[in-house]
């Protein structure tokens, strides 16, 4: 780090007069003498390295990242470390508040809330990640096609985007999951034997299919401006194929807004899934997710407030940490803000 700043400082000095060239050359020789390692790491300072360096300075974003990674790790391995059953019904210990024996308490059926929260968190987070992946992939593909090819393909795809933007999101989401939940679930259960895969696929696809539009617009706009840049012209002139132009030359240059959108999309998808489950239309009630735990708790809030507060706080903290990561990424990847 200090070497870089010294070199950067030497540059304007070097331009001033011949006298200053000497020490600068000496320093270069020094650098060589001190071993190649330092020089190699300096050369590898990439765009992503810069962004990471920038990101690390954003304290809340780092805290968000740590918290989110913690949530992911804990929910994915938690049930192995805390091997209580998620559906062990015991009417002798219903609605127990948090205690040493049951850190998150028990619910109306006496089921262990911590085990359920761990299990449900895995589903909620997985839905968020995969749904965001679906919407970003769709949005990037459609935006890239529209922006790169232009003309009738562009206007057709953009009309499609406009139409999707005008769709009544929540009613449609509720309607589709309600209408297709059972048959999709049966389809997957017959083929894979899993009783949650069907609902998972349906929810992820529907959330993804209703949220790709902002990404598509963003990617299209970036493609339109990148297409005119000299480096694309240069690549075209040496005979780069269309797919090489799209994937190797333009796409890497429009990645930063896509990454930010993807990050924020994860949080939004987690909230959407929880909303669905909260309205009783997400996963079936025997499969806990944070949203369905809230759904079970909402009518009994005066009896057992912990049953609502715990899953609610988990959703809030997860989404908050993701949003802070997104905020930090936005700053880190924005070239105008680089210090």
């Amino acid at each position: 780090m200090s070497e870089i700043t010294r070199d950067a400082g030497a540059n304007p000095l070097g331009g001033r007069g011949a006298a200053s060239v000497v020490p600068s050359a000496e320093r270069d020789a020094d650098g060589l003498a001190s071993g190649k390692l330092g020089r190699v790491t300096r050369k590898q300072r990439s765009l992503w390295g810069n962004a990471w360096r920038q990101f690390r300075h954003h304290k809340l974003a780092m805290a968000g990242l740590v918290l989110f990674v913690l949530f992911v790790v804990v929910t994915f391995i938690g049930n192995a470390i805390y091997p209580r059953e998620i559906d062990a019904i015991d009417f002798l210990r219903t609605d127990a508040p948090p205690s040493l024996d049951f850190p998150f308490g028990t619910d109306a059926l006496g089921q262990d809330m911590l085990a359920r929260a761990l299990w449900g968190g895995r589903i909620s987070i997985a839905v968020g990640l995969v749904a965001a992946l679906v919407s970003i992939t769709l949005g990037t593909a459609i935006g890239a096609l529209a922006g790169f090819f232009g003309g009738p393909a562009d206007s057709l795809l953009m009309r499609l985007t406009d139409m999707f933007l005008a769709l009544p999101q929540l009613p449609l989401l509720l309607m589709i999951t309600y209408l297709f939940r059972e048959s999709v679930n049966r389809f997957f259960e017959e083929r894979t034997g899993s009783d949650i895969l069907g609902t998972f696929v349906l929810i992820v696809v529907v959330i993804g299919a209703l949220n790709w539009m902002p990404t598509a617009r963003l990617v299209r706009a970036s493609f339109l401006s990148m297409k005119e840049k000299e480096f694309v012209e240069a690549a075209t002139s040496i005979g780069a194929t269309r797919s090489a132009l799209i994937f190797k030359h333009i796409l890497p240059n429009v990645m930063s807004p896509i990454i930010v959108a993807a990050t924020l999309g994860v949080g939004a998808a987690i909230i959407t899934e929880s909303t669905l489950s909260f309205l009783g239309l997400g996963f079936p009630s025997d499969i806990p997710t944070w949203g369905s735990m809230l759904f079970d708790a909402k009518d009994r809030i005066e009896l057992a407030p912990h049953e609502a507060i715990i899953p609610g706080m988990l959703i809030f903290l997860t989404v908050l940490s993701i949003n802070y990561v997104g905020d930090g990424l936005r700053d880190a990847l924005d070239p105008r803000k680089t210090q």
Binding site: D162, M163, L165, A166, L167, P168, Q169, L170, P171, L172, L174, M175, I176, Y178, L179, F180, E182, S183, G267, I271, S274, T275, F278, L279, G280, L281, G291, L294, A297, K298, I301, E302, P305, A308, I309, G312, I315, F316, V319, L320, N323, Y324, D327
Partner: protein
């Protein structure tokens, strides 16, 4: 202006047509038989069931059913509700006022909160006020309404016992209605305010650094004049359009809050219709919201063009 409006109206009509086809196809392609209830009835023979299907038009190809539905919808006949057994239109029209009051007041609340906070936050960037308000906006932006709603009930109804937590449509008088509407309105309004504050702040930050604002300061105008008349007037242009565009999202929030506080509005009607497989009501509400979305898109565009003379209409 006239030509622009006509063009916009035509595009909207096409969009609505496409949306109605999408919604209709989803409902038509969904598994499930509307006459499934008769399958177990020994008095209804398979032949009779088939005749009924023909009579009701269920055996018609999908495009014919769509045209029939569209014609009836435009004439104001939205079908019979399976649940209430009455006309869908009466059922929905009866529930619109409550939803309008909740959405309207919460929108008003979020504007009243967001504009001053966002503006002050921007002119005092990096001050303590700015730090606190951006943090709160960020927290609010990450808080789902279904959780804040439950927390509000827990605090104000269960612990403090100040407010009723179930909406009662029999309550008369201003005070009673005020007391039972305040939680849904605040939950929805504060969530909207969190989003809007971020937007107002960003928009204000962009204008406050413009040359004409510096000019206004340089010629010795009072700070109040500069902020209110030079910077804010321009910063509010995108804010107005975002408010118009947010209305459908607020409707989504209203579905959740109406469900939590059991407000008998459109949102809770939608949920109970979905639960009761009441297809005509689901279709009518979904399509009604689609009309609302498209309408407010047009309003946002027109407002933008009217407020910003740099935008050419055409």
């Amino acid at each position: 202006m006239g030509r622009y409006l006509i063009r916009r109206a035509l595009i909207s009509a096409v969009t609505l047509l496409a949306i109605s086809m999408v919604v209709f196809s989803i409902l038509a392609l969904a598994p499930g038989d509307p006459l499934a209830g008769f399958a177990t009835n020994p008095n209804v023979t398979p032949e009779l069931r088939e005749r009924l299907r023909d009579q009701l038009g269920i055996n018609d190809p999908i495009h014919i059913r769509y045209v029939k539905w569209g014609r009836e919808y435009l004439q104001g006949n939205w079908g019979q509700s399976f649940q209430t057994k009455g006309p869908v239109r009466d059922y929905i029209v009866g529930r619109v006022p409550v939803t309008l009051i909740v959405i309207g007041s919460s929108l008003l609340l979020s504007v009243v909160i967001a504009i001053p906070i966002g503006v002050i936050s921007a002119i005092k960037q990096y001050s303590a006020f700015d730090q606190i308000s951006t943090t709160f906006a960020f927290l609010g932006f990450s808080l789902p309404t279904f959780f804040t709603g439950l927390l509000a009930i827990l605090l104000f109804s269960v612990k403090l016992d100040w407010l009723p937590f179930v909406y009662d449509s029999q309550v008369n008088g201003f005070w009673g209605n005020f007391k039972q509407s305040i939680m849904p309105i605040c939950v929805l309004g504060l969530a909207g305010a969190a989003q809007l504050t971020r937007f107002v702040r960003a928009s204000m930050l962009e204008t406050i650094n413009q040359d004409y604002v510096r000019t206004a300061r340089a010629k010795g105008l009072r700070e109040k004049t500069v902020v209110l008349f030079h910077a804010m007037r321009n910063a509010m242009i995108p804010v107005v359009t975002i408010i118009a565009l947010q209305i459908p999202t607020i409707f989504g929030g209203a579905v959740v809050t109406e469900q939590i506080f059991r407000v008998p509005g459109i949102g809770s009607a939608l949920i109970s219709a979905i639960g009761g497989a009441d297809t005509p009501v689901v279709m009518a509400i979904t399509f009604g919201v689609a009309i609302l979305v498209v309408l407010f898109n047009v309003i946002a565009d027109v407002l933008y063009a009217v407020l910003d003379p740099r935008i050419k209409m055409g």
